[in-house]
């Protein structure tokens, strides 16, 4: 038996290369253009040629896509002015050209070192995502690492048509350390990694219906999941938002007073909690009755 490359261990560039058709990726605003953050430079913090996000055009299963991958190692994948403008531009291009857009997320949200510019960029990108959706251009977020999708990017990820997650992926707004500071260690021990993942990890998100696919931590599995979603879009209609409103109300009513994530799992049809905890993403998906 030999080991495999785990998606969550790859760099942003490796992830794109592993996900799309061989040699089909054409990077836009590539490193030789040296579009680096003037904010970081002023603060004496190392800059990066792609400002923490690699964007471009590629093919996936022969279909043209736009794709972006955030670099979690670089300032936590956080969104600064350039990073954010690249994302906005990419989704605007996707809307204009009616080409599906895949965003491999790995970001804690706004890059604090650049202040409000990153925050506005996230808001602008949200608008661009909805431009795509208005035109039925699929937008797909992939969340597969522990840096995950947090802060403004956590919110942004929920604006996309679909979210593909792995068991390593985390999705939320406030991180565990912030909540622990706010509520105390008793309410949320941020060092309790099992609790952190049961709160914000892919399995719980899939169970509650916030992730549309829960797959193996490999490029192959993610590619398959993305490929299946490329032809679909999730329309926003009066019926759809009313249905969603009911779902979310029901979820809040059922679990709003439930502190124990295991109780949520059980209520969602997971019988063997220990087994389900240890299970891989797809094993888990098979074990659990899909939640609404």
């Amino acid at each position: 038996m030999t080991g495999t490359s785990l998606f969550h261990e790859q760099t942003a560039r490796q992830r794109i290369a592993a996900l799309v058709d061989p040699r089909s990726f054409a990077e836009m605003l590539p490193p030789p253009e040296r579009l680096t953050s003037p904010y970081l430079a002023q603060l004496g913090i190392p800059v990066s040629f792609d400002d923490g996000v690699v964007i471009g055009k590629a093919k996936l299963g022969g279909k043209e896509i736009y794709i972006a991958a955030q670099v979690g190692q670089f300032v936590g994948g956080a969104v600064g002015e350039i990073h954010g403008a690249k994302l906005t531009g990419l989704f605007k291009a996707a809307a204009r050209d009616q080409v599906p857009c895949v965003l491999i997320i790995e970001s804690g949200g706004v890059r604090l070192h650049e202040g409000s510019a990153g925050e506005i960029a996230i808001a602008e990108t949200m608008r661009a995502i909805f431009e795509c959706r208005a035109k039925k251009v699929p937008t797909i977020a992939v969340i597969a690492t522990d840096i995950g999708a947090y802060g403004g990017i956590g919110i942004l990820s929920t604006c996309c048509d679909f979210r593909v997650m792995t068991e390593h992926g985390r999705l939320g707004i406030s991180g565990p350390i912030v909540i622990e500071k706010w509520m105390g260690k008793k309410a949320y021990d941020s060092a309790n990694r099992a609790l952190v993942w049961k709160t914000s990890g892919g399995k719980t998100k899939y169970l509650l219906g916030d992730a549309d696919a829960l797959v193996h931590d490999s490029a192959d599995a993610i590619r398959d999941a993305v490929a299946k979603l490329l032809g679909k879009s999730s329309a926003i209609t009066l019926t759809s938002v009313k249905t969603r409103q009911k779902e979310l109300e029901k979820r809040l009513k059922r679990f709003g007073d439930t502190a124990d994530p295991d109780a949520v799992w059980k209520a969602m049809g997971v019988r063997d909690i220990a087994g389900a905890s240890l299970a891989s993403g797809p094993e888990f998906a098979a074990m659990a009755k899909r939640g609404k």
């Binding site: 002015e81 990419l90 925050e119 929920t158």
Partner: protein
């Protein structure tokens, strides 16, 4: 300057029609009038934190407006310190609740409702992103606290001394906190002063709003955000090749 009460503020914006706005747990919903037309009002006050239930109530009201008051402008008032930092809220998917609220607003926009935001108090972080920043046009009272966070908070997280950040903010308004620097970035269309007739301003804002997101252009024109628009254009040009 004494902070006006929420009710006084509503009255300033909507006159006597402000009575149509009900406040429950610092979340406000209702209908009022601006410039002689009926408007839907959603928002927050008292610097409250927005949780799952609050997001649902705001969303429900937007849906109600779409169903029962076609094309009525939606005015969003923002005075919230952020998303509720709570473990259960996170477990239940607070981000998804916010995403749902945004989807409702998007549906309203597509169905011809104009979306106007007035930042009245705190307009920061996830609380601003989850509805207020999604408007067609965003305005702020000059007393409002608009932006990512004050430099002191930024310093505490980034470990960069306050003095350094303050000095840099002189040339980089993005690092400064407040309605005016936020307007320099294009994040706010116009800042309304205490002496302004805000009822008239609101009416005009509704009348002139368009769905085109103009913030990057504004930011470039006003010099607060010099790169965003050019980078975006470069991407659009590169992708067209």
């Amino acid at each position: 300057m004494k902070k006006p009460s929420a009710r006084a503020l509503f009255a300033r914006l909507f006159g006597s029609s402000a009575k149509g706005i009900s406040v429950e747990k610092s979340v406000l919903t209702g209908y009022a009038a601006a410039g002689g037309t009926k408007v839907c009002v959603i928002g927050t006050c008292d610097g409250t934190y927005i949780d799952n239930a609050a997001a649902l109530r705001l969303a429900a009201h937007v849906i109600d407006c779409i169903e029962h008051h076609p094309k009525a402008p939606i005015v969003m008032l923002v005075d919230s310190a952020g998303q509720e930092p709570n473990r259960v809220a996170e477990m239940l998917g607070l981000a998804s609740y916010f995403g749902h609220l945004l989807s409702c607003l998007e549906l309203a926009r597509r169905k011809g409702h104009k979306l106007i935001t007035v930042a009245t108090g705190q307009a920061v972080g996830g609380a601003f992103l989850c509805y207020g920043m999604f408007a067609d046009r965003i305005y702020a009272l000059d007393s409002a606290s608009v932006g990512l966070m004050p430099v002191e908070a930024m310093s505490a997280v980034t470990k960069i001394p306050v003095a350094v950040l303050r000095k840099l903010s002189k040339t980089m308004p993005s690092l400064e906190f407040g309605a005016k620097p936020f307007a320099l970035l294009g994040g706010v269309e116009e800042v309304w002063a205490a002496k302004d007739d805000v009822q008239a301003k609101l009416a005009k804002a509704i009348a002139t709003a368009s769905t085109e997101d103009n913030r990057a252009e504004l930011g470039r024109k006003r010099g607060g955000r010099k790169l965003a628009l050019d980078i975006r254009k470069k991407v659009l040009a590169a992708s067209a090749r």
